[in-house]
Every structure is written in C-alpha cells, then in structure tokens.
C-alpha cells in the first residue's frame, strides 16, 4: 500500500510558566492511502497534539515543533507539512486534510448558520460561487443523513441534536473531498446508539470517497470493528503499532497488554475487581531519559532504567518500543 502521510520523529513542546512540557517525543507513524488508522492512548498521551502539530493548529506560543517531518504525498510530489508557509498550509487544511472535532457544539460557530459554515469551505478551496456552494452543501447534508437539508441549512448549531450536529461537522470536514480525514474522538460526546450511527457514517464516507482516516479514540471496542491498523501512544510516544488483528491477538508491549486486559468483558466474573494498570503516566514537565513506562511495567529490568527503547520491527508492520521480548519471556 502506498503511503499518504509519513510522520517521522515529530517532537512538540509547550513552553509554560512551570517549564517545558515534552508533549511529543519523537513520534513516528504513517497512514496508507485508503487506510484507517486508529490512534489509542490515555488522556495526555499526545494523540490530539500529534494531529494538531501536523496541521500547524497548535497555538504558538506556547507550542513549538522542535524536530521531525510530516510528509504528505500528493499525486507525484511529497510536501513536508511542517515546513509550509501559512498560506500554503491553509491550502492543505480543509482541502487535503479534514478535521472532525470531538464536541460539535463548541466546534461550530454559534452565530452562523450550519449551511454557511459548510459553504465557506467550498467557496474558499474550490472557488465555488455562494449559490453553487449552497447547492453542494444541501447534497453534502443529504449525504451525511440530515433529513430536510434544504430547510435545515438555514438553522443554527444549537437547533440541532448532538448526533445531527456531529453529522454537520463531518459534512464540513469532508466537504472538499480531502484525501485524509482526522477524527478526534468524534463519538465521545454522544450516547451509544448515536455513536454507532456516526461510526457507520464515517466508514461509509471513507469507502465512498476513498479517504484515508485517522481515528483518535479511547475506546478499544470501537477500534476493533473499525481500524486496519492501530497505533498505541503513551506519554508522547508510540509504544506499539500493528495491524488490528495482530494487536488484539498478539500484543507485544506490556502497556498494550495492560490496556487490553483492562477492557471489561461481558462474561467476566462480576465479583472480581476491574483490571487496571497500576500507577500514573509520567509528568511530561521532566520526562525521564529511560523508558517512560518503566515505573508501571510488570516486566521492567535494569536496561529499562538506562535507555529509551528504540522502534523495533518484530514482524512486518508490527513495531514495538520495548526492550523486553514478551513472546519469549526474556530481554531481546
């Protein structure tokens, strides 16, 4: 599979009054054309920050991107998104890469009609007239399953239900047929039945428009039914990445294994306590120069306290950053 986006060694820091927050410490991953990549990890692990860094959406100050590259492959050229000028970046945002935010109520402008919020992207990137943009907006709203689009076009975000608002957000992100859609926990703020509908909708659009999709989530259940590949983040660094089946059947990082164990199953003993990973993630204000997970790791040994583990490709497409070989129960 050809790659659409290749991110290498992305390093982002926040310069705050308390000191420098090492939010991303050398993040490397890629997304193939038409592929669905799920990014999982707990809050503060750098999932959203990584995506916002790529699109230059972090406020600066306090954020700086200190190292790395993010190559976007278009027809025959590759551009490094991190070196683009503001004007060039504005041609990528919304046009090449669409962003779906978590909470559509706060992510939509409360004093603009939803129609004009979708249309302005079309006018901006595809040089549509406002009239033509309006027609296309109605089509888009129909496509994402908003009934009565021609009337609802003139309504405001607060007049929509949570699920419908998220559909507007999706129509907006996909308006210009971008090549990559980044969805930042788009179902977290919704109730479960609506979550499933939104999930199906995004998958349908992904197939119809032949998009690549990055889906950021906490929910490992969603990941299993959705993704081609999974990237597990911890403390600003990927700890494991693998095709979805491999990851679930054969996780190789103690953190991934802990996460999967922590998902409660329906047939578990209801009297037994819920599984969890002991301890807390490290303070990114003063990150250690050894493995970030060492404190909480059940397999920790002396090497883990000395170095940061490198990316290790244990099988094709299965990369893990760990010194310990879980398969053989001994260090690599």
């Amino acid at each position: 599979m050809e790659n659409l986006l290749e991110v290498k060694n992305l390093t982002t820091r926040f310069h705050t009054f308390d000191g420098i927050v090492h939010a991303l410490n050398g993040v490397t991953f890629h997304v193939g054309k038409g592929e669905i990549l799920a990014v999982v990890g707990e809050s503060g692990s750098g999932k959203s920050v990584a995506m916002m860094s790529i699109l230059g959406l972090l406020p600066s100050p306090p954020a700086t991107i200190d190292a790395g590259s993010a190559k976007l492959f278009t027809k025959d050229t590759a551009v490094d998104l991190l070196t683009l000028s503001k004007a060039e970046m504005n041609r990528v945002r919304g046009r090449q890469i669409g962003f779906i935010f978590q909470d559509a109520l706060s992510a939509l402008n409360p004093v603009m009609t939803v129609g004009s919020q979708i249309s302005e992207t079309l006018v901006r990137h595809l040089d549509f007239s406002w009239g033509r943009a309006r027609t296309r907006t109605i089509e888009l709203m129909n496509q994402v399953g908003i009934p009565g689009a021609a009337q609802r076009l003139n309504q405001y975000p607060h007049q929509f239900s949570g699920g419908m608002r998220q559909r507007v957000m999706i129509a907006l992100a996909a308006a210009c047929r971008p090549r990559l859609l980044i969805a930042d926990e788009p179902t977290t703020a919704l109730d479960v039945t609506v979550q499933a509908q939104i999930l199906e909708l995004v998958l349908r659009l992904q197939r119809e428009m032949d998009l690549s999709l990055i889906w950021i989530t906490h929910d490992l259940g969603v990941v299993a039914g959705l993704a081609d590949r999974v990237l597990v983040m911890y403390a600003g660094r990927p700890v494991e990445t693998a095709p979805v089946d491999t990851l679930y059947d054969h996780p190789l990082h103690p953190y991934t294994r802990g996460l999967l164990r922590a998902v409660p199953s329906l047939d578990r003993d209801t009297k037994a306590p819920l599984e969890s990973i002991e301890g807390l993630p490290p303070d990114l204000l003063s990150p250690p120069c050894h493995c970030q997970f060492a404190w909480r790791c059940p397999c920790v040994f002396d090497r883990c306290w000395q170095d940061n583990p490198p990316y290790l490709e244990v099988a094709p497409g299965h990369i893990v950053t760990c010194f310990y070989d879980l398969d053989n129960g001994r260090p690599h």
Binding site: R93, S106, L108, N109, V111, T121, R124, H158
Partner: protein, 315 residues
C-alpha cells in the same frame, strides 16, 4: 421572537411605572412643595391656602394617579423658575444633549473598539499595552478633570476650540454641530472609550480561544475571514449591551461636563433645577431620563436578539 419582544415590552412598562412612583414619592419626601413655592414671608394661613389650591391635602393615592395621568399626556407641570411647562424646557434642551451624547459615543466607538480589537488579537504586544492603558485611564480618570485639562491646553493655550457654549451650523434645514462640541464630547467619551477598549479586548481574547475558531482554522480559511466572520461577529455580541447602556447614560445628560462647558443640555438644566428646587422640572428630567434609558435597554435587547440566534430562538 415575537413572544420575547412582547415580554420585554411588558417588563419595560413595569419599570417605568416603578420609576413614576419613585419620582412622585421622593418629591414628597423632600418636603412640602407649598412651603417652598410660597414667598419667604408668607403666613401659615397663606401656605395652607396654597396647599389646598395645589390639591396637596387630598389622599396620596389620588394625587399619585392624577400625577400619573398628567405624565402620560406629557405634562409634568410648570417650572416654578421659568414659568413654562417642564416638558417644553426638556424638549428645548434635548437636541444639545443628543448631539453631545452621539458624538462622544461615536468618538469612544471609533477609538475604543479598534484599540480593543488590536490589543485582544496581539496579547502582550505594544498595542495591547496601549489598549489596556487606555481602558484603565478611561475608567479611572474623572472626566471633569480631563475637561479642565482639555480647556487649559486646547482652549486657552492653543486656542483651537471654544471652551464654552454651543454653536450650531444650519445647513439645508439641518442643525449641524460645529467644533464647539469637540472638547465636551472628548471629555465625556473618556469613560465609555475605556470601557469599550477593555470589553472588546477581553471579548476578542475569549472568542479567539473558542473551539470554533480552531475549526475555522482547520478549514483553511484566511485570517481575514476568520477575524471578520468568526471572531468579530461573536465578540460584538457583548459589546451591543455596553454601547446601548452607555448611550442611555450619555443621553440622560452629564451634569459635570455640561456645567463645565456651559453646554445647554439636559444635564445643565438638571443642575440648574436642583439648585433652584424646581420640583416639576427635576421630576420631569428624572422621569424623562429613565424613560430614555428604558427604551434604549429595550432596543439593546432587540439588537442582541438579532445578533445572537441563541437568544432569538431560545425558550
């Protein structure tokens, strides 16, 4: 929208009824009008006769309703000093106050809003310090002090502007302001200017950090469109209420500024009326000012509903 409008109108009417009651009873609390109106060496019998003539011996409620009916027909009684209906005097002075209020509101808007906008868009820059300084200066410096300084510098020293009175310029049947309004308007605009600069700055800073601005940026919109369509539109909503309230306050006339510059407006008239214990006139101006403020607040709320769809459709 219609229901909102009707309920706001009813609220305003209730406020006006309350004002009417306060104006009436407060006048009665300050003493016996007959005693004040009668000549200095009038005998008690004469005062009693006067009180009877003025209907002051009847029950308070009846007096109040009579007063209310008169007010509704625009009659506040005659001024004891000018021997003219109070309403006529008010209407005569109104244009001068409207002129001063509009021009000083205009000055504070064209300086205060851009200053706050620039400051809020570039926090901790030079222009931001200027905006914050202007906000602080405008709200802490008393305007009568500034008025005296302006008179000293621009009136006496440089001689660019007249320091008292109002001159107008008649052109095609319109009465237009001349430079005589400049110094009083500048002094009067100071407070509103500072307030607008401060509120615009904080509104812009708040809106800039909203999620929907991040969405707008993620759509690849130009900086100009983000500012005009997304930031300014949202930041202007809280400003509407400040402009409305401030205009109401300016329209009821500034006693200090109008007195310092001998500006023939309502504030000057009120100062005069209070000094002369001219009850009908004080009542008239007090009620008229409240009326203007209530109407402007009503209009402000209407404007608010137009600018913010969440108010328009909210139940």
């Amino acid at each position: 929208m219609q229901r909102y409008f009707i309920s706001r109108v009813i609220q305003s009417l209730l406020v006006l009824a309350g004002v009417l009651m306060m104006v009436f009873f407060m006048m009665h609390l300050t003493g016996d009008p007959a005693g004040l109106m009668a000549s200095r060496n009038a005998s008690p019998e004469e005062i009693a006769r006067l009180r009877d003539q003025m209907g002051l011996n009847r029950p308070m409620t009846i007096q109040f309703f009579e007063f209310a009916i008169d007010v509704l027909s625009g009659d506040f009684g005659n001024s004891t000093r000018y021997h003219q209906p109070a309403m006529d005097l008010i209407l005569e002075r109104l244009p001068a106050t409207v002129e001063l209020a509009s021009i000083s509101l205009f000055i504070s808007m064209i300086i205060g809003i851009p200053l706050g906008l620039l400051g809020g868009s570039n926090p901790n820059s030079m222009v931001d310090y200027l905006a914050r300084g202007a906000g602080l200066f405008g709200q802490t410096v008393p305007n009568f002090w500034l008025a005296l300084i302006l008179i000293l510098v621009f009136g006496l020293h440089l001689g660019w502007f007249p320091t008292f009175g109002r001159e107008t310029w008649r052109f095609m049947g319109l009465t237009l302001p001349t430079r005589s309004v400049f110094l009083p308007a500048c002094s009067l605009s100071l407070f509103t200017l500072g307030q607008l600069a401060r509120f615009t700055r904080s509104a812009v800073m708040e809106v800039r950090s909203e999620d929907y601005i991040l969405t707008a940026r993620s759509k690849g919109l130009s900086v100009r469109r983000i500012y005009i369509q997304h930031i300014l539109r949202n930041a202007s909503i809280p400003l509407i209420s400040i402009v409305g309230v401030q205009f109401g306050y300016l329209l009821s006339g500034s006693i200090y500024i109008e007195t310092i510059f001998s500006w023939p407006g309502l504030g000057n008239l009120l100062a005069d009326a209070i000094g002369n214990r001219d009850f009908a006139l004080v009542q008239g101006i007090a009620f008229f000012s409240s009326f203007v403020v209530v109407i402007l607040n009503l209009l402000t709320d209407m404007a608010y509903a137009t600018a913010d769809p969440r108010v328009r459709y909210g139940e």
